[in-house]
Amino acid sequence: MSRSEILAELKAMLAEFGDVDPQLVDEQTAFIADLGLDSLVLVRMTVVAEERFGVRIPDEVAWELDTVGSVVSYVEESLSRRIGAGGE
């Protein structure tokens, strides 16, 4: 999955679960400080992101991922690490 594909999927999730217009989202967008998402939406998005991207996002990591770009990078790295380690 490329960086732009991950970003597109994340924007789709924000629209589906947070009612956020994808036009308003870029990599700098912060989930709480900019979009005002509440903790329920964030927990739901974290679990669904794990399922859709096939990566583990431990809670102590999730807490630090406060912008769209940080999630994209985390997912990208996790996926490439897995391929590097002979996964998939």
């Binding site: 903790s39 329920l40 964030l42 669904v48 809670d59 102590e60 807490w63 406060d66």
Partner: protein, 582 residues
Amino acid sequence: MSELVRFLREKVWLLGDTRWYARVDSVGGELVEVERLGYAQLDARARAVGAWLAGRTPPGARVLLMYPAGLEFLTVFLGCLYAGRVAVPAPLPDTDRRALERAAGIIRDAEVDLVLSDAAHRPALAAWLTGPDPAPPAECVATDSAGLPDPGTWSPAALEPSATAYVQYTSGSTSEPRGVVITHRNLLHNLLSIRQTLLPEEVLDEFRHDPSQCGAGWLPHHHDMGLVGMLLGPLASYGNLVFCSPVTFVAHPQLWLQMISRYRAFYTFAPNFGYDWLLRSLRNTRLTDLDPDLDLACLRFALNGAEPIRADVLNAVARRLAPVGFNADVWAPSYGLAEATLMVTGTTCGKGPTLGRFDRDALEAGRAVPAPDGVDLVGCGRPVGADVRIVDPDTAQPLKEGHVGEIWVSGDSVADGYLGDPRTTAEHFAATTADGEGPFLRTGDLGFLQEGELFVTGRAKDLIIANGRNIHPQDIERVSESTDPATGLCAAFTLSDASGREHIVLVQEVRPLHLDGRTPASLADLVRRRLAHELRLAVQVVVVGPMSVPRTTSGKIQRSRTRDALRAGRLSPLHCDLALRH
């Protein structure tokens, strides 16, 4: 044997494994049952835990329980009751970043030497407990791999009703945890009172004779409603329970509906935010797409409690779910708090909710006056084995029906007090009315009685309730004040918008000398981001000049006066995140 343990084990002798507890999960969008134990199996494992605890801890020892949602927690909790050891349930750190900090506070406060968990979580907990960090020394054991003794080696502990059953950590800001001491008498009394008030005799008979009656829920077991209401309630009233973890519910809200439908649940229960979250998550969904066989006609009792109850949420959920058989008469609002074990007032099954409209100005002046265009309030039912009074909080004068005052409670469900804190215990648990009656528990909540039914008009002073989290304004203020040299004193509170939805607002004083050419708007942005990062809260920030936040003569900030001043346009903000309506 303790009367409480006898009461619980009586159900095991009567019903054996014909009744059960089951946990489900969502796997690829499908409901999957992942574990199940019958009453007798549960009892056997609890006796094994009891025997094991008796062999390695002194009577009355406090034991911290840090478990994921599941039946291992329930068996160990019962094992503690069986052995006369005091369970202290606490959340695992993976549900909340501050949970470790909180657990460290609890270990210190409750003088815990032993932490119990499961094999999956023990390594991380043990590393933390032996590490250099803040954890006080305590041993961590995984009960699911501990090699427990034979259940037959357990012998009942002789316990007085006044013996401590468990400690429920509840209110109190992160830095000062507050443990409510619940006795065997409290728990037995509340379980029996809930059963008697909520379940009419004929419904209880159905439960006694029909092995298929089931409850469905997803509450965390370290909260009073999850522990007493969800996990212990079924044992007390001969029922089965299907449940999932709170995180599973938040991630897959529709699983709640599937549990009710698939297991033909008779009852369910949640705080207001749970029903609201379900509604929000269903916004873009067709119910029949979810599950073509979804059918909620089995549901005859839907408890709503532990948080302010909103009439618009009750109505909207009922409307949304009506096509799949949800009946608005099943709503059962209730009121309670951990200091009274769980429930104080509740609505009998089959009765339906009481909705009322009251004049807003009269309410603010302390009178409940029905008005067709007034504020919607939901009645929280009648006292559940408790004596409930409405009292003037300043004069301690008891007030008549229709007058708003502080809710005071007495009865056998009211706890002994806070662990190791006689001063706060005396403040909260030993109130006497002006005419000399008492002792009463002061709930700090405001309300009135109408025809014997309790209406709650305001929750504990200053407490912020957001999505099932109880947030102390002090926690928000502490983070904000430490954000930047330019952030001075501040006050956090909630404000409702035109649609009645509550927002968290922080009025932040600026220290102009430390602004260094930055704008108030950029300071607000900094604070908003810091609060989002540290507390995971979306907060609207209002920046004001020095000495703008109202204070008492001793210099303490006054949150409700700050809110009033903001609403009345008396604050002259330098920056404001919200559009104010004057």
